[in-house]
């Protein structure tokens, strides 16, 4: 219990430091946007500060080698052993397993509609969908999967990225979203069902992530084919994707938060 408390205090402290960081990043953004001329008929550009660029470039290069030298050969073997159909089942079950994080984040974003949709999906898929192997809920309109994570929740409440961060193996992230990732992972059911050894969480999480490798790799290879300066392309794509995710949530918000849409 005390270790849980300490974790909470740590998260709160990090959040506070983030909030102060946000101020200086906004100033940085203003400068960046002035650099890039905005043409008529263009949306304002989401940018992300990258003070740790050399460090990030190192991990970007590391991940690149990992994806192509380890994940790719592995993916071939895995896709042979586990056919597409089974991969989809595993992915559905893993997504269903991560329900608590999405549910909690919907509540934290003050979105009872999204929370109840998640709850409905969880109940239908866990029972009639055989423990989440089949996403039966998604066959109904407006009952498809939703993207809800703690980094997004922080963004909805006005917390900026802080700075860009390339995580080993996991890829593009930011200070805010990295904290979000850690917070979301503590919401995996096996971490709060008492008596479950920690190793179970790692195995379930690992299996879920490994199962996604073939899919991730396809996207990564397509990305590499289209990018001329892959590091910059990935950083910008990440900033834009996250901005859309948060803007969509802010735009449809029930309660106004202090984030700019």
């Amino acid at each position: 219990m005390s270790s849980k408390h300490r974790r909470l205090v740590l998260i709160v402290a990090l959040l506070l430091s983030l909030a102060t960081l946000n101020g200086c990043v906004t100033r940085n953004q203003a400068r960046n946007e002035a650099d890039v001329q905005v043409d008529s008929g263009e949306a304002p550009l989401p940018q992300i500060a990258d003070p740790l660029e050399p460090w990030n470039r190192f991990w970007f290069g590391f991940n690149d080698v990992f994806y192509l030298k380890v994940a790719k050969p592995f993916s071939k073997v895995y896709s042979f052993a586990v056919p597409n159909y089974a991969q989809e089942r595993i992915n559905n079950a893993f997504t269903n397993f991560l329900f608590p994080a999405r549910f909690v984040n919907a509540l934290l974003q003050l979105r009872p509609d999204k929370a109840s949709r998640e709850l409905g999906r969880f109940i239908v898929n866990s029972t009639f969908g055989l423990g989440g192997l089949y996403d039966l809920a998604a066959t109904k309109p407006d009952m498809g999967p939703q993207e809800l994570d703690f980094g997004q929740t922080l963004g909805v409440w006005g917390v900026g990225h802080g700075f860009y961060l390339v995580l080993p193996l996991l890829g593009p992230s930011s200070l805010r979203d990295g904290i979000g990732l850690a917070a979301d992972s503590t919401m995996q059911p096996t971490t709060f069902i008492s008596g479950t050894p920690y190793v179970v969480t790692i195995i379930v999480d690992g299996a879920g992530r490994v199962n996604r490798i073939p899919h991730t790799l396809t996207i990564y290879e397509e990305f590499k084919r289209s990018a001329i300066e892959p590091y910059t392309a990935a950083r910008d794509a990440y900033a834009q994707m996250r901005a859309k995710l948060i803007n969509d949530a802010v735009r449809s918000a029930w309660v106004k938060t202090n984030a700019q849409p």
């Binding site: 890039v36 008529s40 008929g41 263009e42 550009l45 498809g144 084919r225 300066e229 910008d236 859309k244």
Partner: protein, 194 residues
């Protein structure tokens, strides 16, 4: 007197409203024509059928404005490119895009395109939101169009990532260190690779 003013106001409102509505439909219609052609080709010709790729190229090209796309990705750098460099760059960039994105389009089977809405982006610019629905899930795609003689696409956002902005950042970085000719060389070699 008042009733006449009200009448005029209503008329003006109706006219303004209808002309805007008519304009708003135009961009979407232009896009729809091209998208439907692409979907028809994907349905009627099997992958690898002779001329399939060329047919797809032709349908997609109809609705894109390559120069507008190239100019916007280069932003302020466009002015420092000579006319020949602009032409070479536009060609190389378009062939890179065609190779990467048509590969994606070609892989879609049983794809459906749903047109969601259109919103004006100031004078002569419009944004059409769509989503591609495949068995694997939904991909939100937003097209930005500009009205010249026809409505032409100058930017595509896939999952919120604007193509123009993404390449602009890359080209900005390259042009900070390299000459336009070097950039064109890199784009050309990417476009012809794989």
């Amino acid at each position: 007197m008042i009733s006449r003013i009200v009448g005029v106001l209503i008329l003006v409102f109706l006219l303004a409203h209808s002309s805007q509505a008519a304009m708003a439909g135009q961009a979407e219609d232009a896009l729809k024509t091209s998208v439907n052609e692409v979907l028809d080709i994907l349905k009627s010709d099997n992958p690898g059928a002779p001329g399939r790729t060329e047919k797809l190229y032709t349908s997609v090209r109809k609705v894109f404005d390559p120069e507008e796309l190239a100019r916007r990705t280069l932003a302020a750098h466009w002015n420092s490119f000579s006319p020949e460099e602009r032409t070479r760059f536009t060609e190389a960039f378009v062939s890179l895009l065609e190779r990467t994105y048509l590969r994606r389009i070609e892989s879609y089977t049983n794809a459906q395109v749903v047109f969601l809405n259109e919103s004006a982006l100031g004078e002569g610019h419009s944004e059409v939101s769509t989503k591609i629905v495949t068995s694997a899930g939904e991909v939100p795609i937003v097209y930005r169009l500009i009205r010249k003689n026809d409505w032409k696409v100058y930017d595509v956002s896939i999952e919120g990532v604007s193509l123009v902005q993404n390449y602009r950042n890359q080209f900005n970085e390259i042009l900070a260190k390299e000459s336009p000719a070097q950039l064109i060389g890199r784009v050309e070699s990417m476009g012809s690779a794989s």
